[in-house]
Structures are given as C-alpha cells and as structure tokens.
C-alpha cells in the first residue's frame, strides 16, 4: 500500500506501469485518475486544492486500509495533489490490484467515493466569474451509503 500527498504533478504512466509490476498473482489492475475540468458556462482557469497536512495522510491511509479489509487486494495506491493546477492536469489517482477484476473494480470505486467526501481536501475554482469554493454534492455523500 502506498499513499502519496504532494503538490507536484505525478507521472500517471510511470505509476501505472510500476504498480503491481512483476507480481504473477495479480490478474487485475484498475486505475482511475481525476482531472481538472473546465467546461461551457463553468470556465475554470485554475483549481486550487487546500488540505489538512497530517490528517490528510492519516485519512487516506485509513480509507485504503478499509478497502483492503473489504476486498482481497494485492496492492493499493493513492496519489492526491494539492495546490494550484490547471484544466487538463491530473489531480489524483488510485490504483487497485487483485487476483480477479471484481475486487479491483469495486475497491477503486469505494476509494473514490470515500476520498470525495471523507478526505480533508477543499477545492476552489478561479474562473471568468471570479473565485469560489466547490460545494460538496449531496450525491457524493449519498454514494457512501451503498458501501
């Protein structure tokens, strides 16, 4: 298990390539990456992510450990950035590996649902209309109830 919280960009290709490399027992690897988005009436020039140093790492570790308890996983990777980033830049990634795909897929979705609303990150968008904090969506909180 590896948890990384950093300001600098990460190399998605290299991380995906290295994840679970050389392990013959892992038949499935799922990766997800979240990207800064700017669209139509919501034009974003910069997204800034604030976090709670110390608690962030602990919360991500706890979420990853919970995933490892619920599914049979060979490995888990979570990388999440903070600081300013532009549309098209990768914000975060998760990777899960398991013997069969069901565990890897479900665990990746679980990780995403939990880090949306249980990891101490706050997004602020700077765009043509000024600056605003991104509001948490009710559906993101509701998504936790399915697990």
């Amino acid at each position: 298990m590896r948890i990384v919280v950093q300001e600098t960009p990460f190399d998605f290709g290299a991380e995906a390539e290295a994840f679970g490399a050389g392990r013959g027992d892992l038949g499935a690897v799922v990766t997800f990456t979240g990207v800064v988005r700017s669209e139509g009436d919501r034009s974003v020039s910069v997204m800034e992510i604030e976090h709670y140093p110390g608690m962030t790492e602990a919360a991500l570790t706890e979420i990853a450990q919970e995933a490892a308890r619920r599914w049979t996983l060979g490995d888990v990777l979570v990388i999440h950035r903070y600081g300013p980033m532009k549309p098209g830049e990768r914000i975060m990634m998760v990777a899960t590996a398991s013997a069969h795909r069901k565990d890897a897929f479900e665990a990746a979705e679980f990780l995403m649902d939990y880090l949306k609303s249980r990891a101490p990150f706050w997004k602020r968008e700077v765009g043509a209309d000024g600056e605003s904090w991104v509001s948490a969506k009710d559906e993101d909180v509701a998504a936790l109830t399915r697990w």
Binding site: Y52, M55, L115, K116, S117, R118, A119, A136
Partner: protein, 81 residues
C-alpha cells in the same frame, strides 16, 4: 488547544490557526465560545450544519468531548477526488 480553520471558514475568520484557552466540554461548547467572540466568528459559525469538525485529526461529531484534546479543526464538507 490548537484550533484550525480551513477553506471558507479560514477566510471568514481570517486566520488559519490559533491557540485557544478553553474549558469547553464539547465541540458545541467551543463553538458557542468562539461565536460570542466577534462578528467574524459568529459569521463563520452561523450554520454549523454547513460545517464539519475533526478532533485530533479524526472526523468527529459536534457533541464530541474535548477532554485531553490537543487539536480541533473546523471546515466545510470535503471535496476531494
């Protein structure tokens, strides 16, 4: 006790952290004390249903006890991922 503020809570109060000397028994009691201080605190804590709290870096409820606690953080609902 170290009290931290994040995102718009930090902006409304105007500082990211402060040392607070308090006998507050619970988070709710601490919120009441802070609210009574100044307008900017009253504004930040006007609607606690819009806030979340962490006690010693773990998500907690507003009725959580504060005995022995070193750090309390207030912030809006999280938007990670």
């Amino acid at each position: 006790m170290n009290v931290l503020y994040f995102a718009w809570v930090r902006e409304r109060i105007g500082i990211p952290r402060e040392d607070v000397v308090t006998d507050a028994a619970t988070v709710n009691d601490l919120v009441e004390e802070l609210r009574a201080r100044e307008e900017r605190y009253a504004l930040a804590f006007a609607d606690v249903s819009a806030l979340r709290v962490a006690v010693d870096q773990k998500l907690a409820d507003f009725d959580a006890p504060l005995e022995g606690v070193r750090e309390v953080a207030f912030f809006p609902p999280m938007t990670g991922g």
